[in-house]
């Protein structure tokens, strides 16, 4: 972008007579252009790219997402296809990662399982972040709502989450799978259960940020020209609390994926013929002595995904912290 300023005027003159008036003041013209291109997010991205771990993690995470989304289009074996004659096979060309005790292809199952696991992680995170930001903004912005909403947050923080999750999933799986079908019903149940029990941290962080923002001059200015509350929140508060929300969202994906796999691992997740990474691990534990790979692959994928997401969250936090970004 800075090239035109460096271009000697003689070159420009050689290019054509039309360029001569522009060449009279070369350094002034491009400068506003470069400034106009800088936004908060491009700054964040520039800083994020400097975090080597986060960049490696981001490319790995994109790779994993491509593996589970594009993979099934290329590797066209049905993950639920039972081929009893080909059961318990090792690595081969027909089944690169072998088959399980019913002869189902492990590679296809890992892809299908990853779709569900990542979908659960993203959806549960979206619910949790939506709830958390809503409660955080309401309680930070409206003084009258602050005390009751924060009491509620503290109550939720005091709930024993894993036992309650186990309880919710076992108790409501039957009625929900009857209304929505076994797969979709359990998906709704798990996603809602995880989302409804993990919004508290986000709410606290957002509330703290909003409380700080409310004292700033631009809020006072906006208020003095008569901005109504709802526009105040959407135009002024929300864009300014975006960065902590995004960091919390990234880390939320990691916890949601781990929680779903833990539920599946305890046998309380998705139904058996419906692969997720946690379920694959759980199914393979019985035969881990003979076929350790069937445990290792899904476990590695869970750990790798969570590790990537955690690193991305770390990089985002650094990139969005203006104290570090200035450097």
């Amino acid at each position: 972008m800075t090239e035109p300023t460096r271009t000697p005027s003689s070159d420009l003159a050689a290019a054509g007579g039309a360029a001569t008036p522009a060449a009279a003041s070369p350094p002034v013209v491009p400068a506003p252009e470069t400034v106009a291109h800088r936004s908060q997010w491009s700054d964040v991205w520039r800083q994020f790219r400097r975090h080597r771990g986060a960049m490696v993690a981001l490319s790995l995470f994109v790779g994993i997402i491509l593996f589970v989304s594009i993979g099934p289009l290329l590797w066209r074996i049905d993950p639920t296809f039972v081929d009893i004659r080909a059961r318990n096979q090792g690595f081969s060309l027909a089944h690169p990662l072998g088959t399980d005790q019913l002869g189902r292809d492990l590679l296809a199952r890992l892809m299908a399982g990853g779709q569900v696991s990542i979908a659960v992680g993203l959806t549960a995170m979206t619910i949790a972040i939506f709830l958390g930001s809503l409660i955080g903004i309401l309680s930070g912005f409206f003084r009258r709502l602050d005390a009751p909403l924060m009491r509620m947050t503290e109550l939720f923080l005091a709930l024993p989450l894993l036992p309650l999750l186990l309880l919710m999933v076992t108790l409501f799986r039957e009625p929900l799978s009857q209304t929505f079908g076994p797969a979709l019903g359990i998906f709704f149940l798990i996603v809602t259960a995880i989302g409804a029990t993990s919004w508290m941290q986000a709410a606290r962080i957002v509330r703290g940020e909003v409380l700080g923002l409310k004292e700033r001059e631009f809020i006072l200015a906006a208020r003095s020209i008569g901005t109504p509350s709802h526009r105040m929140v959407t135009r002024h508060i929300l864009p300014n609390v975006m960065s902590p929300i995004m960091v919390a969202a990234t880390l939320g994906i990691a916890t949601a994926i781990i929680t779903e796999s833990a539920l599946s691992f305890l046998g309380l997740g998705f139904p058996p013929d419906f692969p997720t990474w946690g379920r694959l691990l759980f199914d393979a534990v019985d035969q881990m002595v003979l076929y350790p790979w069937r445990v290792i692959f899904p476990g590695l994928l869970i750990s790798l995904t969570v590790l990537c997401v955690n690193y991305i969250g770390d990089g985002l936090r650094d990139a969005m912290d203006p104290r570090i970004r200035g450097r």
Partner: protein, 335 residues
């Protein structure tokens, strides 16, 4: 400080009542039937009498208040009877499990030692690993040690315990045959040999949980140490000629431990929750395993009591963390 503690204690009571109500209503809304295993040949009137015998005939508010009375009044009375030989609890009904037909607290008392030894050991070991790593990482920020430590602790809390546990079982239990992969609860430590056996069977579950805890605590230790090492008073301590050892291990460490201690206190209930999974992996016959088996069996009194005990743990340790913070750090004023 005292008024703060008392106020918090009074606030804890409605919190706990609310949580118990939530758990109770959740169980109440469940479609599961504790009589689901009773054969269909049993006539309906007998079935009705069985329900009444389990205490399911009453409307739910009555049963909720009854449970509260049993938990907060009858059980403590029973324990005082046990300890002092009195008989206050004569004729009062204790909370009875649907599944084993024995008092819930007797079953819990049987399972508690296993959970406490495994969870307690793992937490202590985790702290003992985490604190030195955190100190060194912060002291040599961005050194090779720090970067490896950061990476390992990142991996440590990204790997779910059910995966690390299974991997340890495959490597050390199956291939190398160093440790037994199933926890034997009937083992009694009597002599040196049985002590060794106990240590061997505890090794893997404790390692899994300890690594997971160490990963989290060492991150806190590092950042808290970093905060303190850049403070003015550290420069002063160095300037007046104190040895580096004294500066780091006395001045910086003492102040850095304040937030870490509260994190440790706050994390303890979560460790009990996380132990549910580890107990399942290693077949440790503890509280977590009891919770899962009673959820499967629709054993409502047992599930209710256990979940509520977890809630009590969380509320208690949050309170302890808050009080500790005030006691340790004179800059914090609650009043």
């Amino acid at each position: 400080m005292l008024t703060f503690t008392i106020r918090r204690l009074f606030l804890a009571i409605p919190t706990l009542l609310f949580i118990s109500l939530v758990i109770f209503l959740l169980l109440e809304a469940s479609p599961g039937d504790p009589l689901g295993d009773v054969p269909l040949t049993v006539p309906p009137e007998v079935r009705e009498r069985m329900r009444a015998a389990l205490g399911l005939g009453e409307p739910w508010p009555v049963r909720y208040v009854l449970w509260l009375k049993q938990f907060f009044w009858v059980e403590p009375l029973y324990w005082t009877d046990q300890w002092f030989g009195t008989n206050f609890s004569q004729g009062a009904q204790r909370i009875v499990s649907f599944q084993s037909r024995s008092p819930v607290f007797d079953v819990i008392a049987q399972r508690l030692p296993q959970t406490l030894t495994v969870v307690g050991m793992s937490y202590v070991i985790g702290i003992m690993i985490a604190v030195p790593i955190g100190i060194l990482s912060a002291y040599r920020q961005y050194s090779l040690f720090d970067q490896i430590g950061t990476f390992v602790s990142m991996i440590g809390f990204s790997m779910p315990t059910f995966f690390t546990g299974v991997v340890l079982i495959i490597v050390f239990g199956v291939n190398l045959q160093w440790f037994p992969s199933v926890y034997d609860t009937t083992l009694v430590v009597r002599d040196w040999d049985s002590f060794l056996a106990q240590a061997r069977q505890m090794a893997m579950p404790v390692t899994v949980l300890a690594l997971y805890n160490a990963a989290q605590i060492s991150r806190f230790m590092r950042s808290s140490m970093l905060d303190n090492l850049s403070q003015d008073y550290i420069r002063t301590a160095r300037a007046k000629g104190l040895s580096e050892r004294k500066v780091v291990l006395k001045h910086a460490l003492r102040n850095s431990l304040i937030p870490v201690v509260t994190v440790i206190a706050l994390g303890l209930p979560a460790v009990f929750g996380g132990a549910i999974i580890t107990e399942q992996v290693f077949r440790v016959n503890g509280l977590g395993q009891l919770l899962i088996s009673s959820i499967y069996a629709n054993d409502i009194p047992m599930v209710m009591t256990l979940t509520f005990i977890f809630a009590i743990l969380i509320v208690t340790f949050t309170l302890i963390a808050d009080i500790l913070y005030g006691v340790l750090d004179p800059r914090i004023r609650y009043d």
